[in-house]
């Protein structure tokens, strides 16, 4: 088990290292010189040269990368090229908000998705299954800005029961922010809900067909006991991994949803950074997102290992 965790950890660190190379090189694709971007096209060559010196842009690219990576790991994420402020406190403040929204969404769509998936599996090919599968497939395909705007149209504008705009102050406490989280959370959830439901459905169907489920039925155990003890224990195991893989979707969904609702999260900060071409900000946010994604996958792997006797005890 410890060897398993170490292996997973090693893989994830390696992956993150390579991902950092990609992020760094992509942002270096920027046409023209960063110094020019910052100072505008009318800057004097002397000013540009001074800034290049200051930013270390005259050094070889490898050195720049190494410097950037090590300072990122140390916690020195640089100074915004636009606002000239430290980016780390700026991002961390937004990260809290994004995590708040993400947690509310996860707490909503994971249990509901599992429930729907199990119901669909138990009614395989019957009406309930067709309805759940069809609707979840439809929602899984709808971009967040479409569902988000339709929800705003119905719940905020026509019925006026929830706020249409979630552009709260970044430091708002969770309790005060909660009403503003509901619509964005539903929006983010709809895409992932369908995904979780579909995956849960298929793994549950597999387990329902397994010989050991038949054996449990033939033992005359009460139906609910067969379901909770024999079926779900096995069929929800892959769901752990599925949820973690879905975090990538969730992050994409958060970016769009934050834009739709004007919610002050990391996603909106990223869009802002891209619009202003704030290289430092983009790099830091991207690295942070990759780290969050990778470690949630690691957590899922470890949880899977703990729940699966095959890995926990070795094969």
């Amino acid at each position: 088990m410890i060897a398993y965790i170490l292996r997973r950890l090693g893989m994830i660190l390696l992956t993150m290292l390579l991902a950092s190379v990609i992020i760094f090189s992509v942002t270096q694709l920027l046409p023209g010189d960063v110094a020019h971007v910052i100072l505008g096209q009318f800057a004097t060559p002397q000013a540009v040269e001074n800034l290049r010196e200051e930013l270390g842009l005259n050094r070889p690219i490898i050195v720049q990368y190494w410097d950037w990576l090590t300072s990122f790991i140390r916690g020195d994420w640089g100074i915004s090229m636009v606002s000239r402020l430290e980016v780390r406190p700026m991002i961390m403040e937004r990260l809290r908000n994004s995590l708040m929204l993400a947690s509310v969404s996860l707490l909503f769509y994971v249990p509901l998705g599992i429930l729907l998936g199990v119901i669909a599996a138990l009614n395989e090919d019957r009406l309930a299954d067709q309805a759940i599968s069809g609707i979840s497939m439809a929602f899984a395909g709808l971009p967040e800005f479409v569902t988000g705007l339709i929800l705003i149209g119905i719940l905020a504008i026509s019925l006026d029961i929830l706020p249409a705009n979630s552009s709260i102050e970044p430091q708002t406490s969770f309790k005060e922010a909660f009403p503003f989280l509901i619509l964005p959370a539903i929006t983010v959830s709809l895409t992932s809900l369908g995904y979780i439901a579909r995956m849960t459905r298929s793994s549950t169907i597999d387990v329902l067909r397994a010989d050991y489920t038949r054996a449990a039925d033939m033992k005359g155990l009460p139906r609910w006991q067969v379901l909770t003890k024999h079926v779900l224990r096995n069929s929800l195991l892959p769901t752990v991994t599925v949820v973690a893989m879905g975090i990538g979707w969730l992050i994409g969904g958060l970016i769009v949803t934050e834009a739709v609702f004007g919610y002050p999260g990391v996603g909106r900060l990223l869009i802002y950074g891209i619009q202003r071409r704030d290289l430092i900000l983009i790099q830091a946010i991207s690295m942070l997102i990759v780290a969050v994604y990778s470690f949630s996958n690691l957590a899922a792997d470890i949880l899977y290992g703990i729940l699966n006797p095959r890995i926990r005890l070795g094969g």
Binding site: M11, D211, M218, K229, H230, R233, P309, G315
Partner: protein, 695 residues
């Protein structure tokens, strides 16, 4: 037998079971009636598609959602099962009826300890507390003779061997002391020596518990060994039913006769006899023939057979058949059966050598893939094949026999070049071969061909089967492009397939037909050596028989040397001139087929022969059983590697020293510490007729 006066536990009358499918309803089980008494083991035999599993699931009303019982009655000790509500049914399941499933590794929940899986039965049906149920589980584990029940109870399925898992399933099924037990092919997934131990256990336990048992199997030998009564099922109906003694001695239905004739036996030297075959296929339930459903495949049929379908008739006391011509069938047994055909009269002891494989070794390094390797320890070595030498002569068959994991398939794959041997020499017609298939020349490739075990995987699902046979002709066969079609047709004819099959895709063929195509493909290159890697083991017995006949016929015509790999001793004996016995990657005995099957044997060979169930209730087999399971090929036992399980172990010498090869005569050798005279003195022939049970 002695059960006639016991009360009836299960009574089924005129049961019909139907499945709703896209093509309309399929009546998979039709008009089945049966009675099983207390303490009686009722064997239900039939080939795949005969409806035996559907019948079993219908008996406990546990059919798939599209299946339903359309008419008939099922009564369990006075309870009308068809009248029960689903809730009431669940109280019957587990308490009064239990089931042992086919593949124990799949029938045990992988994420619950096995002890808990027994204990939950006790809690639900016997109303026990947690502590009592735990105690009961340990008691049951002890009942099925598992060593160290305490530790076994706390383990998960993946930590236990197939034999142990099957014992656990049996323990589970008997926990509540049910009235009726269904066993669905409980030993099919096991090796023959494990099967023998489990069968002994089942017979002893059931005698003690006096449960009424429905025992489903395709293996007539197993029926003869443990059942009291037998029902022969075909295409959803019962053809013949009666006590074991009566059915096996007075076969009153041509299908029973055919099935028994299909099976090669280790106790009778029938190597020179063509096996009985049953032509054609089981009809689908929606396309049954007029009259007798077996009519089109029956050698006894006459006009009346095509017009009338008989019910099950009692023609002797407690012996039923649906065949109207049962008297003719019974009469034919003595005359018709032994139509001898000497396929291999030729004494090949001096025929030229085709394959000479010397000291072949194959080791696999156990390692995890790629980068994760950085985090694991030094690789372990699996010695799959360890110093095996085999020779095959022209026109002769060398059979390699052993249980799963003994290295026989790895050896064959080393010869074929799919695996690269670690060391050793492979000579083909005197010429040394490179280990890897990629380095072998076209002329070498042409000389060795292989027929694979699984016909589903050995044909490309996207290619018409004619194309699969045509390619080797084009590449290796020295055949003109224009003649390929003609050659393909000839090959199809040689393997008894209609020529218009060439354009079909594999999924349109049955398993047996696919294997015929695979054999035609292998013969297309006109090889000198044909490696047959378990070519028949995935098929039904009647199909096996016709393939074995065909292989023998083709060998006679073409003079090809066969290397026949199998776990089925009876098939090996039937087809082979020479036999090599393998265990844990080593050769233990080698000799002509007759010699290997007569004492002295190697103790392992002896145990194999004793384990095989012979389809004849009047045969007595010496009871020699191997305990435990095959050790891992990573940690091979010291000295004689069979000593951990050897029933004839003589002392420390077996644990410390490698045994020597001893020659019984020029063509028969045994690798064992026990002197040959002693082996001969303590061993008896494979099987003998029992006097006391003769009628």
């Amino acid at each position: 037998m002695a059960t006639d006066d016991k009360p009836t536990v299960l009574e089924v009358k005129n049961l019909w079971v139907s499945y709703a499918t896209d093509d309309g309803p399929l009546n998979t089980v039709r008009n089945v009636s049966m009675k099983i008494r207390r303490g009686e083991i009722y064997g239900l035999v039939g080939e795949s598609g005969s409806g035996k599993t559907t019948l079993a699931r219908a008996l406990v009303r546990y059919l798939p959602r599209n299946g339903s019982i359309t008419s008939g009655s099922i009564s369990l000790a006075g309870t009308d099962l068809l009248a029960l509500s689903p809730g009431e049914l669940r109280k019957v399941w587990g308490a009064r009826v239990t089931m042992v499933h086919q593949d124990p590794s799949k029938a045990i929940n992988p994420s619950i300890t096995v002890g808990e899986q027994i204990a939950e039965m006790a809690r639900v049906h016997l109303g026990m507390s947690r502590a009592q149920a735990r105690h009961k589980a340990l008691e049951m584990l002890e009942k099925v003779q598992l060593p160290d029940p305490e530790s076994v109870a706390g383990r998960y399925a993946h930590q236990l061997s197939g034999g142990m898992l099957q014992r656990i399933l049996i323990a589970t099924a008997l926990t509540t002391n049910p009235q009726f037990l269904i066993m669905d092919e409980p030993t099919t997934a096991l090796d023959v020596t494990t099967e023998a131990v489990i069968l002994d256990l089942v017979r002893d336990l059931l005698r003690e518990y006096q449960t009424a048992v429905l025992y489903i199997t395709h293996n007539l030998g197993v029926v003869a060994r443990i059942c009291d009564r037998v029902g022969v099922m075909y295409a959803g109906e019962i053809m013949e039913e009666g006590s074991i003694q009566r059915v096996f001695t007075h076969k009153l239905h041509p299908y029973t006769l055919g099935l028994l004739g299909c099976v090669p036996r280790i106790d009778i030297d029938k190597r020179d006899i063509t096996l009985h075959t049953i032509p054609g296929h089981i009809p689908r339930p929606d396309a049954l023939p007029e009259g007798c459903i077996f009519g089109p495949r029956c050698t006894f049929n006459d006009n009346t057979c095509h017009q009338t379908r008989n019910p099950l008739m009692e023609v002797e006391p407690e012996h039923f058949t649906i065949c109207g011509r049962w008297a003719d069938v019974e009469k034919s047994i003595r005359e018709d059966f032994a139509q001898e055909k000497a396929i291999k009269a030729l004494d090949q002891k001096d025929a030229p050598l085709v394959l000479d494989a010397r000291n072949i070794e194959k080791q696999f390094k156990l390692r995890r893939s790629g980068l994760s390797n950085l985090f694991s320890w030094k690789p372990e070595v699996v010695r799959a094949v360890d110093n095996v030498s085999i020779r095959v002569r022209k026109g002769a068959t060398m059979g390699i026999v052993g249980e799963s994991g003994c290295g026989k398939t790895t050896f064959a794959r080393c010869i074929a070049g799919f695996e690269q041997a670690t060391s050793g020499d492979i000579f083909l017609e005197g010429e040394a071969l490179p280990y890897s298939i990629a380095k072998r020349s076209k002329s070498t490739l042409k000389k060795i061909q292989l027929v694979f075990q699984n016909p589903d995987a050995s044909l490309n699902p996207q290619h018409p089967v004619g194309q699969s046979v045509g390619r080797p002709l084009a590449l290796l066969g020295n055949v003109l492009q224009s003649e390929i079609d003609q050659c393909v047709r000839e090959l199809f004819e040689a393997v008894n397939l209609p020529a218009d099959y060439v354009n079909r895709l594999p999924h349109e063929l049955s398993g047996g037909e696919k294997q015929r195509v695979a054999i035609a493909r292998a013969f297309a290159a006109d090889p000198e050596l044909m490696i047959l890697d378990e070519p028949i083991s995935s098929l039904d017995v009647s199909v096996q028989a016709s393939l074995m006949n065909m292989l023998a016929e083709l060998q006679k015509v073409k003079g090809t040397a066969y290397l026949f790999i199998s776990h089925d001793l009876a098939a090996v004996r039937h087809l082979s001139d020479w036999i090599a016995v393998v265990y844990l990657g080593r050769l233990w005995e080698i000799g002509s087929a007759e010699d290997v099957f007569t004492p002295p044997y190697h103790p392992y060979t002896e145990a194999l022969l004793s384990a095989i169930p012979i389809p004849d209730p009047n045969i007595h087999q010496e009871r020699i059983r191997l305990q435990g399971s095959v050790p891992s090929a990573v940690n091979i036992p010291s000295g004689c590697r069979f000593h951990t399980r050897c029933p004839r172990k003589i002392g420390p010498i077996c644990e410390n020293e490698e045994p020597p090869w001893q020659n019984v005569h020029r063509f028969h050798s045994i690798c064992c510490h026990i002197p040959l005279e002693e082996l001969t003195a303590m061993q008896v022939p494979v099987a003998s007729e029992t006097e006391e049970e003769q009628q």
